[in-house]
């Protein structure tokens, strides 16, 4: 019982921390570009501000705008409870990777429908682009899950990190799969070079275009949902490929150590993302399939290493 309670607790911690990770990412980018940037807690203030603002909806919108933000946030919260953060004790009840990935697809589905719901032209554009990219990213995600099954003989992310936490070194396959997963993370979470999360009203945008007509509470919920989704992806990549030091039993010392290590690992991932975002300009939409193709080739190579060559 304690195990499950702690699972819920770490999920809550992940949810509470997710805005700060976005804040830290912004701060890192600002630092590298040589300006001061907003404080790391600014994201929370923005969310609170949005929550307290009046919500204006398009008169043409339907039940999608009414329940969509609520369902999107529910889905992201649900997923946060289904992944290990810094504790991966026995949990065979939840944690199936296929379920998590498809459930996160639900957030995508609602986002794309918001785009079409308000009958604005921008929305349709964002929807069309998002669906195009996610369609191509789908087989990569499937192959990553396949690769993980070869390595660890399970679909359960808790078991994967428990098994992998004992490993001392990474195999070639693991590294290739990590890079591939990282590209999927970039694609699925609308980061550079696929989408520039900082711009508004550019003809290039994807995620912002879809949620353009949301405001106030709706926008806050959807933004929070995307932040949590981003954090979930980071937690997944960290706990699948580098779970070293993750707590496998409930002891205060182990958990404290695991928490510190987890934060350090997340900072490294965020730092890498920040470097990429500072160095690279946004690419054309039709260059994005090339990046996904790279990711696809890498995961095929990873599977070949673990399945066919040994």
């Amino acid at each position: 019982m304690n195990y499950y309670l702690f699972n819920i607790l770490q999920g809550i911690i992940l949810i509470l921390l997710s805005p700060i990770f976005s804040g830290i990412l912004k701060k890192m980018k600002a630092f590298m570009r040589g300006y001061k940037g907003p404080g790391v807690f600014q994201v929370y203030y923005d969310l609170v501000k949005l929550f307290n603002k009046e919500t204006i909806r398009s008169g043409k919108s339907s039940f999608i705008t009414e329940i969509g933000p609520l369902l999107a946030i529910s889905i992201s919260l649900t997923c946060a409870f289904m992944i290990p953060v810094f504790f991966c004790g026995a949990s065979s009840l939840v944690g199936n990777l296929i379920v998590i990935v498809f459930l996160l697809g639900g957030i995508k589905l609602f986002n794309t429908l918001f785009g079409l719901d308000s009958s604005s032209t921008f929305g349709g554009m964002g929807t069309s682009r998002e669906l195009f990219l996610s369609m191509l990213a789908e087989p990569v995600m499937f192959l990553i899950i396949m690769f993980l099954y070869f390595q660890y003989e399970t679909f359960n992310i808790f078991e994967i990190s428990a098994k992998n936490s004992l490993a001392i070194s990474l195999s070639v396959g693991d590294i290739l799969a990590f890079v591939s997963f990282f590209i999927v993370l970039v694609v699925e979470n609308a980061r550079l070079p696929i989408d520039n999360p900082e711009t508004h009203l550019e003809l290039t945008m994807i995620h912002e275009a879809m949620v353009l007509d949301l405001s106030g509470r709706d926008l806050a919920l959807v933004e929070l949902a995307s932040m949590i989704k981003f954090t979930i992806f980071i937690a997944m990549i960290v706990n699948i490929f580098f779970p070293i030091g993750i707590a496998t039993s409930l002891s205060l010392l182990l958990i404290a150590e695991a928490a510190i290590l987890f934060l350090a690992k997340v900072f490294i991932i965020l730092f890498v993302i920040a470097i990429i975002e500072v160095l690279i300009a946004k690419s054309r939409l039709f260059r994005a399939p090339d990046l996904i193709a790279v990711s696809f080739s890498l995961i095929i190579a990873a599977i070949s290493f673990s399945r066919f060559i040994n």
Binding site: I64, V94, N96, V99, L131, F142
Partner: protein
């Protein structure tokens, strides 16, 4: 006809019962739905005719899946084909429907012809027409015979189920049929063809060789990817849905092929798992595709058009139909915990297990590529589902047709409501269904109640549904408690004020990015004409139809033109022809019989 049935008895084993149950489960809501839907045709076409044909169609489908010998099977198969043909040409005043109907009739007869040949071969080897006896004597079929029966079954059942390249009738016939009929044709009739394939391959043929099972896998994957790419460029909702049906059939076929691959390597429990995945997807697809066709029908009923570029903003006027369609959309795009996800997860799991457990590397490689293609298909399905739902129901109307609409009758709503409820229930309680399917199929297929792979039956999806519901119920009041002032305004047009519905993204525009990658496969072509205005005109054709079917038709016409010369109009010559033909037949029987 009935006396034949009673003489030979009916087949009641778990497979037949499963399919009969699927047919009945879908048919009842669709029948309720048709009561209201057919009001549209009052005055122009006979309503009673349609209802009777629909009933004959449903009954014949049930009888096909419970028939016990090949004679009854073929008879009811033909009844099913002909009654559905009459449903396709129901709106006979439209010439296009007649054309599609004739194409359907031809394909149906090709299918029937190959099936008769297949049953004849089975009779040749086993000496029986009774299904149980064929199963008992299946060891008598030689290796060569297996290949022949496999090819005949694949073409015979494939022409009906819509495997590429025999699918071309499907996107023509389904949009032409009235929506209640197309819901049944797409949801259930294709599954009857799959029933036949499963019956023949699992029970009549004693083990399929490895390369033939891989052929199933590859044809399935090709069908899936080709159909979903074609679905993406359609602007007719029903055409989109018809292609999407072919896609799902492809996925099921690939899973059936996978099951034989497992069987070849003696992995019986995994073989069973993938068979159950295929069966479960058959049930789920029957439910959600009927729901989507029914809601497309309600759009057609309300607005009189099925062209998505003219629709939009239907939510305000038909709330219930929209929500039902939304549930169908969630289901087809495999969002947990709905039923589409439940079976897709099983299919993906079986593919992953396949790649990991199969000892031969090259087989594993083929399975891996098929699995990746099926995952890509899943992404495409999400794209197509959002296109059909979002463009049709959301936003604002794109034409006058979508603005002034008829109210849809209560019976249609009830029919769609039942199907939508099934979508949710079969998803949330999928572990129970999968469990019972595993048990019943293992007794039938392997003979004993074998140890079920634990991976398939954990209650994850129900747990997730529970957590999701709890979270939603907690979040909802929490968020409501904030200052709840919600006001409604115009859509923000970035400073532009005179927005009209026509400025939204259209169906064509939404799927534009992927046409840049896949235009060749989709047969998509765009023409831009510049006069004083700029016209953009795009066209979509089926690649197989243009590159394979039309040349065949041309060649046949040419051949027929040559053969016509032997029509001399003299009876003596015709008698000579008959004599020669008889001689040749006798010689053939003597030589090869």
């Amino acid at each position: 006809m009935l006396s034949i049935l009673f003489q030979n008895g009916i087949m009641i084993d778990n497979l037949s019962i499963f399919f009969a149950a699927t047919i009945i489960l879908v048919s009842i809501p669709i029948l309720i739905y048709s009561l209201g839907y057919l009001k549209e045709y009052k005055g122009t076409y006979s309503v009673g005719y349609n209802l009777i044909m629909t009933l004959v169609f449903i009954v014949s489908m049930v009888l096909v899946v419970i028939s016990k010998d090949s004679m009854t099977f073929i008879v009811f198969w033909e009844v099913m084909s002909v009654s559905s043909f009459f449903l396709v040409i129901y709106e006979y005043k439209n010439q296009m429907n007649i054309n599609s109907g004739i194409m359907y009739l031809i394909m149906t007869h090709i299918s029937g012809f190959f099936l008769m040949a297949m049953f004849a071969f089975l009779y040749k080897y086993t000496g029986s027409m009774d299904f149980n006896e064929i199963g008992q004597f299946s060891y008598k079929i030689t290796e060569h015979g297996v290949a022949v029966i496999f090819i005949l079954a694949l073409i015979g059942f494939g022409a009906k189920a819509g495997f590429v390249p025999l699918h071309a009738w499907l996107p023509k016939a389904h949009p032409c049929a009235p929506s209640n009929a197309s819901a049944l044709m797409s949801g259930v009739m294709l599954k009857v063809a799959l029933y036949g394939l499963i019956r023949v391959l699992y029970f009549f043929v004693d083990g399929l060789p490895l390369n033939l099972s891989l052929v199933l896998c590859v044809i399935g994957a090709v069908t899936a990817i080709f159909s979903i790419l074609n679905a993406l460029v359609q602007k007719d909702i029903k055409k989109l849905l018809a292609y999407s049906s072919a896609e799902n059939i492809g996925m099921i076929l690939a899973t059936i092929g996978l099951s034989f691959v497992f069987k070849h390597y003696g992995l019986n429990s995994l073989s069973l798992l993938s068979l159950v995945a295929a069966l479960f997807h058959i049930l789920n697809h029957a439910v959600f595709k009927s729901l989507l066709f029914a809601s497309a029908g309600s759009v057609l009923f309300a607005t009189g058009t099925k062209n998505m570029n003219e629709l939009g903003g239907l939510y305000g006027k038909m709330k219930f139909a929209t929500i039902a369609a939304f549930i169908g959309t969630l289901s087809i795009s495999a969002i947990p915990p709905l039923n589409g996800f439940a079976s897709e997860m099983l299919i993906l799991k079986s593919f992953i297990l396949g790649v990991s457990k199969v000892p031969d590397s090259w087989v594993a490689g083929i399975l891996m590529i098929s699995g990746a293609i099926i995952a890509l298909t899943g992404g495409g399905a999400l794209y197509a589902a959002i296109k059909s739902f979002g463009i049709t129901y959301l936003g604002s109307p794109r034409s006058a047709k979508a603005e002034s609409i008829h109210k849809i009758p209560m019976t249609m709503k009830i029919g769609m409501g039942i199907l939508a409820a099934q979508c949710v229930l079969f998803g949330v309680f999928s572990p129970l269904i999968v469990n019972s399917l595993l048990h019943s199929m293992s007794i039938l297929y392997i003979g004993t109640d074998i140890n079920i792979p634990i991976i398939a039956v954990n209650y994850e999806i129900s747990i997730v549904a529970g957590i999701l519901l709890t979270t939603f119920l907690i979040v909802k009041p929490l968020v409501k408690a904030r200052k709840g002032t919600i006001s409604y305004g115009d859509t923000w047009g970035c400073g532009f004020v005179n927005q009209t519905g026509r400025m939204q993204y259209t169906a064509n525009a939404l799927s534009q990015p992927q046409t840049r990658l896949f235009a060749k496969v989709q047969g998509y072509s765009k023409r831009v004409k510049v006069t004083s205005l700029i016209y953009i005109d795009d066209q979509v054709y089926d690649v197989f139809e243009k590159k394979a079917y039309i040349p065949i038709v041309r060649f046949t016409n040419y051949l027929a033109g040559k053969i016509v010369r032997i029509h001399l109009g003299k009876v003596r010559v015709y008698v000579l022809y008959i004599f020669i033909a008889l001689g040749a037949t006798l010689l053939g029987v003597y030589r090869f019989g």
